[in-house]
């Protein structure tokens, strides 16, 4: 593992709700190194999203210490240290695909020519060259999600945080995007935090798999992947893969209470 990019020390987060406090995270310790591809898996409500949002400074932990690129999450946000991708594409319907990708660049004050160049580059990267002039609703769900990834890549943040980005897509499209994401990660060397519900997806993509359990949300297991960086899709039929998937499933089941 290389230099720590994200370091969480005893992070806790409690939401005050009308029905009393909800302990979304409790004593979460985790170090993510540069270039890691870390997946978070766990049952619904275990705090995966909350943890990712805490890293992105979209939530403030109520306890513990968190540093991103050696800064506080807030400072990292201002330094535009990460791109964030949500489960739904969240494209703005009144902007074209290029316009959507352009939006964060405009906000960050990139010049027009720089913007155009970057848009072309990331569209290419996610295999959407030629679709820049279309509106989001003219594209299929998978293409929209790729556009939203392009948007998060456009300003070249080192860190990519993805919250179930492929959850709404069908299996085959998902396979493709998984492959593409892996290629992209290898090419760019970005650090990726990735939330998923799917065991095969987590196993296929990650260098490390973080298994979480709910009430209160904590990390029950961190599994390092023995798989090589180069992963063709049918690696999923290999015994290592199946063993690893089994291990993750066991880890999940241990932590899982009653529905």
């Amino acid at each position: 593992m290389s230099a720590a990019v994200i370091e969480a020390r005893k992070i806790s987060l409690t939401f005050q709700t009308a029905d009393g406090p909800v302990h979304a995270l409790k004593d979460v310790d985790l170090t993510i190194g540069k270039g890691d591809f870390v997946s978070f898996i766990g049952p619904s409500g275990c705090g995966k999203t909350t943890f990712l949002r805490t890293i992105a400074a979209l939530e403030t932990p109520t306890g513990g210490e968190l540093s991103v690129n050696g800064m506080t999450p807030d400072a990292a946000q201002r330094a535009r240290a990460y791109g964030y991708v949500f489960q739904a594409p969240g494209l703005y319907p009144w902007r074209t695909i290029s316009g959507n990708i352009s939006l964060p660049l405009e906000i960050m004050g990139f010049s027009r020519s720089d913007r155009q160049e970057r848009i072309a580059r990331v569209l290419d990267l996610v295999d959407l060259a030629g679709f820049g002039g279309k509106f989001p609703w003219q594209l299929s769900g998978g293409m929209q999600q790729r556009a939203s990834i392009a948007r998060a890549l456009a300003f070249d943040a080192d860190i990519l945080l993805m919250d179930e980005p492929f959850g709404a897509l069908d299996e085959i499209v998902r396979d493709r995007l998984n492959e593409a994401l892996l290629t992209l990660w290898r090419k760019t060397g970005k650090t990726i935090g990735f939330v998923t519900h799917s065991i095969p997806e987590a196993v296929y993509l990650s260098t490390r798999i973080v298994v979480m359990s709910p009430r209160p949300g904590r990390i029950t297991k961190v599994i390092d992947s023995p798989l090589p960086p180069e992963r063709p899709l049918d690696i999923r039929d290999s015994p290592e893969f199946i063993a690893l998937a089994h291990e993750v499933r066991e880890g999940l089941r241990e932590g899982h209470g009653d529905d």
Binding site: Q77, R78, R80, Y84, L103, I107, M108, F155
Partner: protein
């Protein structure tokens, strides 16, 4: 199934009911007159009479049509007897009031969305403001403004504005609040500034709501103007027409003014609808 046939059928049904109503409601008068003249009316004479009275309780459709035709096509449009002239007077005050009202509504909405103090203090009173029977005190409002030296088009416009600002305010607040948590979070993750969030996210997302409430607002502004003209001594405008028709018992004139007003309202709403379509289409929201 196309729309034409059903609409025509319903229109025909309405006309039929209208004619029957006219016969029924005007018959009393025809009979009284006959009794006073000590003659007997045959049924067909009675019906003929009910549809041609000078002061019918309910004028027959063709009488209204004739009144409309005379008011619209039978006069020079600068004539005081021209409905187009009166429609224009009403329209100008309506547009002024609608402009003031929607601008006020939009500005207030922006304030409410951005300031919690404004949200908590203005919103409840904005609701209460609409329960003030402004229409009932319109004449007073006009006198009060006159005493402050404001006369002519503006007092009417202010009543119109009072009625139209509320729908715009409500729609715009809702619209500015449509961006969901995810869209706002995205902006946050890019460290976007307040104005950037407003111009690039909130405003574009609110436009469909804005247009919907502008349509309600413009109809309300028209009602406000007409009522402002109605009892308050305005000398021109559809409201004044309505009033003088009522004052001289000229039901045909009332109905013609009423239909002109409805047509004006329909026209204004259609116009906004057109603008909405053009704008939203340009924004890619029309599909």
């Amino acid at each position: 199934m196309s729309r034409t046939l059903p609409v025509l059928t319903v229109v025909a049904a309405i006309l039929l009911v209208w004619y029957l109503g006219a016969i029924g409601m005007n018959a009393q008068w025809a009979r009284d007159q006959a009794a006073r003249a000590e003659t007997q009316l045959t049924t067909s004479a009675l019906i003929a009479d009910t549809l041609t009275q000078d002061r019918p309780v309910l004028p027959a459709p063709h009488q209204v049509a004739a009144g409309l035709w005379d008011g619209i096509a039978g006069q020079k449009i600068t004539s005081k007897r021209s409905l187009i002239y009166h429609a224009w007077v009403t329209l100008s005050a309506t547009l002024a009031g609608f402009g003031i009202g929607s601008l006020a509504g939009i500005l207030l909405a922006v304030g409410i969305v951005h300031s919690r103090a404004m949200d908590q203090s203005v919103m409840p009173w904005a609701v209460a403001s609409q329960t003030v029977p402004i229409l009932a005190i319109a004449p007073m409002v006009i006198v009060v403004f006159a005493s402050a030296g404001v006369t002519g088009l503006l007092p009417k416009a202010i009543i119109a504005a009072w009625l139209s600002f509320f729908p715009v305010l409500v729609g715009m607040v809702k619209g500015l609040r449509t961006p969901d948590g995810m869209q706002l979070d995205l902006m946050k993750s890019w460290s976007a500034s307040g104005p950037q969030v407003f111009w690039r996210l909130r405003l574009p997302s609110s436009l469909p709501y804005l247009f919907a409430s502008l349509k309600i607002g413009v109809a309300a502004a028209l009602v406000g103007t007409i009522v402002g003209e109605l009892p308050a001594g305005a000398t021109a405008g559809l409201g004044a027409r309505l009033l003088s028709g009522s004052y001289y018992g000229q039901t045909v004139q009332i109905w013609s003014a009423l239909f002109t007003a409805a047509a004006l309202a329909a026209l204004l709403v259609m116009l906004i609808d057109l603008i909405q379509r053009l704008v939203l289409k340009r924004m890619g929201l029309g599909g």
